[in-house]
């Protein structure tokens, strides 16, 4: 199918909207009526046709607009993209991985022509046609990681693997759920996760680290994470928190359906061959409450999850103050009927609402 790329904004006038197609494939993250942390990893080896899991790096209708938003964030704050000196090789690994994956998975949108180390990359949606020498920094306008991630949806963190730990030594982070690359770069797995409540005592990170250290070439993995955001704002960074934090208070019962967004991260993990590093793409999907309520199962389930979520998690995810208003809205869509296991929308048995 041909993707209709939208022209929309993720700031100021917020013209972002999901098409019906985008809502139906939205990665609703809850497989049961409650939520607690788990090491919910699975193999990243395709998925149902048309789903966000099918391709290695999913491209959707928001692609061009997201890349424009990214370049604006970077113009304003270049420190959102940093790479410690020893990570340049890993940056080339990532460039190679993304170029090969996208040219194979979306041949009508991306092309990669290679002749030894002489490469030509064509990105039709972004109107890029660029010849360069692989591994030669001087032939690219930016470092390799920055170059390719300016053309790929989602944040990227590259982790150096040493001393039986993972170290956040490079990243492109412009769509994050409130953490700072500039502050966290150089930290190890336990350190950058230090602010997450409860999870350390549960042993989540020890188990997750062991799993991640053993991810091998050719065998990527994935999991989902989630939070809440008011307005389809991608740049919910701590750096700009003093500007966007106040938006949380603009929610009211009339606008909550339109302005309250569930923000889901598809996190994938790929071993990078030449550097032995691990890349951690964090792909952000946004859906408003109105969007989500068109799927009856999601309407019921989201109410129950948010209602029963422990206070510490709701506080850490930043929506504790708005929770009562959210529940007022969501409870209208919970008729108490049972929900099926799993995240899929069940639209065959219960069609979408208008």
């Amino acid at each position: 199918m041909t993707i209709q790329f939208k022209d929309e904004t993720f700031r100021d006038d917020y013209t972002f909207k999901n098409s019906e197609w985008a809502v139906k494939r939205f990665p609703f993250p809850f497989h049961e009526d409650s939520y607690m942390y788990s090491v919910n990893m699975e193999q990243h080896k395709g998925g149902p046709e048309g789903s966000i899991y099918e391709k290695r790096f999913d491209v959707d209708e928001h692609y061009i607009s997201e890349m424009r938003d990214r370049s604006e964030v970077l113009k304003d704050d270049p420190l959102r993209c940093q790479s410690l000196p020893h990570m340049t090789l890993a940056g080339w690994d990532l460039l190679e991985l993304i170029m090969i994956s996208k040219s194979e998975d979306y041949p009508d949108l991306f092309e990669l022509h290679r002749n030894g180390n002489n490469w030509r990359w064509i990105n039709k949606p972004m109107q890029i046609d660029h010849s360069f020498t692989f591994l030669d920094d001087a032939t690219l306008p930016y470092g390799p990681m920055e170059y390719i991630t300016r053309q790929t949806q989602g944040d990227f963190v590259i982790l150096d693997q040493r001393e039986s730990n993972l170290w956040m030594d490079a990243g492109m982070v412009t769509t994050q759920a409130d953490w700072s690359l500039d502050f966290d770069i150089g930290m190890n797995f336990f350190e950058w996760h230090a602010p997450v409540p409860k999870a350390h005592e549960m042993g989540i990170f020890t188990r997750a680290l062991k799993f991640l250290l053993n991810i091998q070439q050719g065998a990527p993995a994935r999991r989902l994470n989630w939070t809440m955001t008011v307005n389809p704002l991608l740049d919910t960074s701590p750096e700009n928190y003093h500007k966007w934090g106040v938006q949380k208070g603009t929610l009211n019962p009339e606008n909550i359906g339109e302005k309250q967004y569930l923000r889901v991260e598809l996190q994938t993990f790929f071993r990078l061959p030449r550097s032995n590093a691990l890349v951690f793409p964090i792909r952000c999907y946004l859906a408003s409450f109105d969007d989500l309520m068109t799927v009856p199962k999601w309407g019921r389930r989201l109410h129950r999850v948010i209602r029963d979520l422990p206070e510490e998690l709701a506080t850490y995810k930043g929506f504790i103050d708005n929770r009562p208003m959210m529940l007022d809205y969501l409870s209208q869509y919970d008729d108490g009927k049972p929900t099926s296991d799993g995240i899929w929308p069940d639209l065959q048995t219960e069609p979408a609402r208008d």
Binding site: P85, R162, Q217, G218, A219, P273, R274
Partner: protein, 320 residues
């Protein structure tokens, strides 16, 4: 799925380097490029020996940028369980093999201001790939390579010809040994030390470096730990409901695999932790030969690494 992803290949060349060491070169059977890798990585080669499936890890010595072929160099071990002997005696050019995707448990620390490499015998192999990788990025490295004698000096001539200023060779038979204390003394801050060779050499160098105040994080080593043969023993696999007799020349992991039970593994050499197995019941002595478990895990009798460790006693029940 156990182990790293697999690649179908065939033997494209066999070169006998000297009395003990032979190089094997491989090409893919599907005509595609091999995955690239980082210097220090190894591949696990799967060979069919009659009913037996042998799985042996070998360092990739080829240039990581060369995706047309992989090469390994194998030292014939007459005392071992037959893996290297099988390769030397039975494998011919054109034979089919299965190679795993590269796995790296001995990678370079790219932050190092200098890479100081100490190799003993066949331990030279991972350094050959690392040197090629570092040369491409103009990295700062220095090699000290100890060999038995000139005729068993595998790749000595190539190394001396290409890098006369960075390679130092030591011949045992000329009583020429690495003066490790003097070598380590005075290395600039930010140097990382890499050792690959026999266990005795590794222990000695690690010990001397630690005594001289080198932090643990700057010392890296890889020991080619092949599972040693041992007294046969019986094990019950509780989850699969099977009783398995582990033979003298097979590892516990190999016996489990032989019984058709899919047990996780990666390095098959006691280093990576992937095959860690819980012990449900044990009446006897554990023979721990791995580098993975902590001392208290080993003495607890609650965990075992089946790729290299064994057991001697009446009962052993594992959660597999």
């Amino acid at each position: 799925m156990s182990g790293a992803e697999k690649i179908n290949a065939k033997v494209s060349n066999i070169i006998k380097l000297n009395d003990l060491v032979t190089r094997f070169e491989f090409e893919r059977t599907d005509g595609q490029l091999f995955p690239t890798f980082s210097g220090g990585a190894h591949t696990v080669i799967e060979l069919k020996d009659g009913d037996l499936t042998r799985r042996n890890p070998y360092s990739l010595m080829s240039d990581p940028m060369d995706q047309d072929g992989y090469s390994i160099s194998v030292r014939r071990d007459d005392e071992g369980r037959g893996g290297s002997l099988f390769l030397h005696n039975n494998i011919k050019i054109g034979d089919d093999v299965v190679l795993s995707h590269p796995v790296n448990l001995f990678s370079l620390d790219l932050r190092a201001k200098k890479h100081l490499m100490i190799a003993g015998g066949i331990g030279i192999t991972p350094f050959l790939a690392q040197i090629k990788q570092l040369d491409r990025s103009h990295g700062n490295w220095e090699l000290h390579y100890s060999v038995r004698n000139q005729s068993l000096g595998t790749y000595v001539n190539d190394l001396m010809a290409m890098h006369p200023n960075d390679v130092n060779i030591y011949y045992d038979d000329e009583k020429n040994f690495i003066d490790i204390v003097n070598l380590l003394d005075g290395q600039p801050l930010g140097t990382h030390l890499y050792i690959c060779g026999p266990k005795g050499m590794i222990d000695w160098v690690v010990n001397e470096a630690s005594k001289l105040g080198w932090p643990n994080e700057t010392i890296h080593y890889e020991e080619f730990l092949a599972p040693k043969p041992g007294k046969p023993f019986q094990v019950k696999l509780s989850a699969s409901n099977k009783v398995v007799n582990v033979g003298e020349n097979e590892s516990l992991l190999e016996a489990i695999e032989r019984e058709g039970v899919d047990a996780p593994y990666l390095c098959r050499g006691g280093a990576c932790g992937q095959c860690e197995t819980s012990v449900i019941e044990a009446d006897g002595e554990f023979i721990h030969r791995d580098h993975w478990l902590e001392d208290d895990d080993k003495s607890s009798g609650k965990k075992i690494m089946p790729c290299v460790s064994r057991f001697d006693g009446k009962t052993l029940v594992l959660d597999r």
